[in-house]
Amino acid sequence: MHVIRDDGSLDPNLDPGLSIDQVVALYKAMLRTRIVDDRLERIQRQGRIAFHVGSLGEEAAIIGAAAALRDRDWIVPCYREVGALLWRGYPLQQYIDHMYGNAGDPLHGRQMPDHTVSREHRYLSVSAPIGTQIPHAVGIAMAAKKRGLDECAGVFFGDGATSSNDFHAAMNFAGVYQAPVLFLCRNNGYAISLPTEQQTATRTMAEKAAAYGVPAARIDGNDVLAVWRAVREGVQRAAGGGGPTFIELMTYRLGGHSTSDDPRVYRSQEETDSWRKADPLLRLRKHIGQRDVWNDELDSDWQAVCDAEVKECVRRAEEKPAPALAEVFAEVYAEQPWHLREQQARCIDGPRASDEEDEP
């Protein structure tokens, strides 16, 4: 399904009818996410942060889906979806602080970079094992349904996750209980190095949904309006009591799996170059350019704004101290048990790896 045609015009039969302001907001969010990604990758290369997992090339799939979910709907992320969290208004400074694991990190330096969370934005927590979040989304949706709330859960995962134990369990539970959940499968071509055609013997990921009685769609994940339309249809199905929807978002990971990856080992430059032509930002840029609401000057101005913003956040993040050492021992349980009190005291009293001052 294409909404934005190759020439930049919209297919009038499929146009979801977003206002031009909404469309420009999507573009600006996608561009901002890309600029943040780019800056984080650079500072990782300089050794200033440990790691980054970016979304280069997948911005439409991530932000289009987030935009089509309603504010009261839950986002259950994989780990590449910080663009969705920023779309919901999460402060960039907080994200960058998290990337540094400093005293401003809401997770107190407990998680690797890009493991964001925010209850305020109804955005669940990231864990690295693949597919484990998918049944959580189904449980959240089952809970919302049981409580009579008009909420659904949108869960992101990649093509690789469709091989996981958790994926199949979750799809089955969603089908059986008709849970208001959207399975958002970002098929970006690779699970680290493994191409999708070696991940599964099925021709598509979408056809797997049939085995669980879950309706499915397969759409161009680089066309943000197609993503928006398909996800909003899924939301409407869920809200109307129609249960789950599986959406395969066809996209391509233009960057490595993470900053620890080297995609040159497993795929050709020609392949990546050909996908660059299908860049979701280029497609949307062409469309809004045609509608005379965007031009090169606005584009470079916005890039400059975003770049200055992220640089300032980085500057501030680098000035912040490490989180208190006591945070290592906090929030393991609702109340700290005796053994963690003892271990905290022992750790703080030393011997310690670092002689930095620390507030107990």
Binding site: P106, L107, A143, A153
Partner: protein
Amino acid sequence: MTQMNLVQAINSGLRSALQQDDDVLVMGEDVGQLGGVFRVTQGLQEEFGPDRVLDTPLSETGILGTAIGMALHGLRPISEIQFADFIYPGFDQLVNEAAKYRYRSGGEFHVPMVVRTPYGGGIRGGQYHSQSPEALFIHTPGLKVVCPSNPYDAKGLLLEAIRDEDPVLFFEPKRVYRAVKMDVPDEPYTVPLGDAKIVRPGEQVTCIAWGAMLYEAFTAAEEVAKQGVDVEVIDLRTLWPLDVGTLVASVEKTGRVLVVHEAPRTCGFGSELVALITERAFLHLEAPPVRVTGWDTPFPLTHEHEYLPLAHRIAPALLETARY
């Protein structure tokens, strides 16, 4: 008050919880219409409906993973894993997800769920209906582990576990599900987590046990009493967080300690108990701490009574410790 066995007391606890709080739900394989393979949930679906007592598809990952999602939304799911031996397909959901959610989300989300599961041998269940995997969960930061031995504690600890804001593994000693009866209040009440109970005061040896093996420890203590050895028997009730104070106070008094558990010996919970007591009461010890446990083999069928640490193995070990 009603005379209840463990099955009836746990059923009564679940009923109380379902009555008290609309956010509580019970889910698992065969727990609804059938009432569970051990009938622990009998009658609950009939009373509370299929939206609160869910017969789930056959997937431990699905049961535990969706229960976590429900708890994240604010419900209080009580999942049943039909046998503790079957918990491993959902192991990752417990140790990497439920256990770590509060910590990894900076306290923004947490998982108030209870996982009930019958554990232990002595029912001719062989390798896959007899295991005692409690140590795996005690070893996981973020989980609480409870194991009642009697009907009164079972109901009270269960209701406390359901109220608790952390994920709780609730191991039920299926060998004594129907073997013990006692007076249990029909109304709701709680027994606090983290309190061990001295069930037989004594002066010469401290014997620590939980679940089904508590009765074996008690029997052995009575037997050696005839030979003049006075044993203090402690029922842990909550395995983690541990009531270390009660254990240390007892060993400071007796100077001798013996731990009983069904699970394999190596890296069983007994190892940690002995280490903690040795660290804290070293100068009070008159004899090396002793473990009477299952062997380091898979759980056997035909010779299960040679595998289990029953009274016939505990009693001589108590005498030996007392006379060391």
